[in-house]
């Protein structure tokens, strides 16, 4: 009977497994293989096996290391601000007695826009000549500031744009999680004399902590792939201060057709994301094991 059930489970999951194998496992294996070759798409000779040459070259390339550093710094700052602000907005919106639905919808708008549109909107707003932000600064006798070409401001300009776009995403998930907290817990805390901060600390946070970790992880994975805004607004400059790993991969793989080298950079990027996500994945597996034991 048990054997039949197992066979049935395998049969039922086989289409999904097949799709997963074709769309994820094979490409991943190909990328791993290509990363060990000198595959150049336009070459007339077949790719040669070069072992770890691409990886060695990658870590010797100061522009790659700079892009890696920028990406890590950008991800850390963007995710920190997005999750913190998202949480604050979620608490704020939840505290409103009226208009939660309207606020929820309006707040979400930036996240619904494609990154390319967001980049173009901000390019116009940050323009030196006719940009809204420099015009406002001009009213106070300040500026104009070359937001996207000044080495002191470009990185932070992109950071602000990303935070503007994705804070609502964090807000939505955390706000949804807060809806699941039993009202009774707040009432009990209130009877025990807990103030607003104590309620947030001892009721809200323990209930949504798992969601905060999940939102953080999702944002880390997504922010690590930052590309469109940089490609449109700064092209990685000025002085390579906004260059990202994805942009580096795109240049080498798509512009220059260096498939082997770009694959090595992609493998490095995937490993970093896996490393960052490992804690969460481990925690998830443990939680599932605990649930199965119960």
């Amino acid at each position: 009977m048990k054997k039949n059930n197992t066979l049935y489970a395998y049969l039922m999951s086989s289409p999904a497994m097949l799709v997963l194998t074709v769309l994820s496992v094979f490409p991943l294996l190909f990328i791993l293989w290509y990363s060990l070759t000198d595959y150049y798409y336009l070459s007339t000779r077949p790719p040669q096996f070069v072992l770890f040459d691409n990886y060695i070259k990658l870590f010797k390339d100061r522009y790659f290391m700079q892009a890696l550093g920028n990406t890590l710094r950008f991800t850390a700052l963007a995710v920190l601000f997005e999750v913190t602000l998202g949480l604050m907005v979620a608490v704020l919106v939840k505290s409103f007695k009226r208009g939660q639905e309207v606020l929820r919808t309006v707040t979400l708008l930036p996240t619904l826009l494609p990154p390319v549109t967001v980049a173009l909107i901000w390019q116009i707003m940050l323009s030196n000549n006719y940009g809204l932000i420099n015009s406002l600064l001009g009213l106070f006798g300040l500026g104009p500031v070359s937001w996207l070409t000044d080495v002191n401001t470009a990185f932070y300009a992109i950071l602000v744009i990303d935070i503007w776009q994705y804070t609502p995403f964090a807000f939505l998930l955390l706000y949804a999680a807060m809806q699941g907290i039993p009202q009774g817990q707040y009432e009990a805390a209130s009877i025990d004399g807990a103030g607003k901060w104590a309620q947030f600390h001892y009721v809200t946070m323990p209930n949504i902590f798992h969601n905060v970790v999940m939102v953080t992880l999702l944002r880390v994975i997504d922010t690590f792939r930052l590309f469109d805004k940089v490609n449109i607004l700064t092209k990685g400059g000025p002085a390579n201060t906004t260059a990202t790993i994805t942009q580096y991969i795109y240049h080498n793989g798509v512009n220059m057709f260096k498939v082997g080298y770009a694959s090595a950079a992609s493998v490095v990027m995937t490993l970093i994301i896996l490393f960052l996500a490992a804690g969460y994945i481990r925690q998830n597996f443990k939680a599932r094991e605990r649930a199965q034991k119960r």
């Binding site: 007339t44 522009y63 323009s127 996207l148 070409t149 092209k235 002085a239 240049h251 798509v254 512009n255």
Partner: protein, 404 residues
Amino acid sequence: MKKALSLLLALVMVGALASAALAEQPAKLVIAARGGSHVDVINAVKAQFEQENNCVIEVLGLENPDLKQKIALDSRNAAGAYDIVMLDDPWMPEVTEAGMLLNLTEQGYADDADFVPTSLALGKAPYGAGDTFALPFSGNVTLLFYNADVLASVDAQVPDSWQGALDIAKAVNGKDGKVGYVIRGQQGNPIVGDFMPVLWAYGGDVFDADWNVIVDSQEAKDALNLYIQLLENGANYEKNDIVSSVADGKAAMSLGWPSWYISGKASTAGYAKIPGKVNADSPENPAGMIGNWLMGVPKNTRNPELAVKLLTFLTSAETQRAAAPSGAVPTRTSVFTDPDLSKEYPFYATLLAATEASRERPRTPLWGDIENVFGIELSNAISGIKSVDDALADAKAAIEDIVK
């Protein structure tokens, strides 16, 4: 017997109809083109060729990176999807080295002396002297753009040297909130494209004749120092801001591509050939950067003869004349100097002179990588992150790393 005869007759009729239908089936030619005005130009002139050659021409308009990718990916197929491809001229070394294009010279194509020599040379491999693999479809060369009122406000003439341009920038900058000179200092292709004319005017280059990297030469250092001085007496904007600031009289000068400012008869700014001299006494070097769109026939086309014929048609003087109202920039001397067209498009004379005195970007398949690292180091220099000497030394090291 009757039935058999009727069946035979029916079969013969069906067969005849089918073969007639097949015989009249027009050939289909697909052009992978750069999107925008180029597509309009081809669509405006293609009907005549379709009629004369019983074919249908489909034009696919693609964005720049997409176009390169699609051409490259298709080149590895046994039977290609495209019969003619448009190519940005710096791609030529890559595509010819990869054997992607049909050798037009081997197909019997004889060079047409009517093409501006600097344009025709771009389609040859090796550059300038080899066989012809692509023909110049759309001309372009960077020019100096200026606001005449702003120049007049400081009693200045259009500069013919870079020192002259700097003097004007110094006189204008800060006066009534105006900007002296606008550089296009965005990292990568923009800053390299904006700086190369200055570098060439100073007699510098990226490589010497033996392909040694010379970006740290004294000429290059002087050119970059001047470029930084121009920035100090101006601003660093992206393309749209450059165009609006010069056109609106907020800035005096910038370099740029003609299409940014010129449309038909009208131009939103004054234009002139880019100065090729350092100062009034120095020798004149070609300094404008040529940037033609070429057309070639992929090796794996299904219709090689018809495709070559179409290519010749699309780049002919008649077609370039007919396409002028659609915004096409010619590549032929006879079209540039056509009296009627010159009256209609007064910028043709300046454009022809600038094209004849233009320079091409280094002809190497590695140019994309070189441009990338050179752009980073130029950006380091203008941002003050590195000194001019350090930035150019690092650029040299990085470029040598790429070409070794």
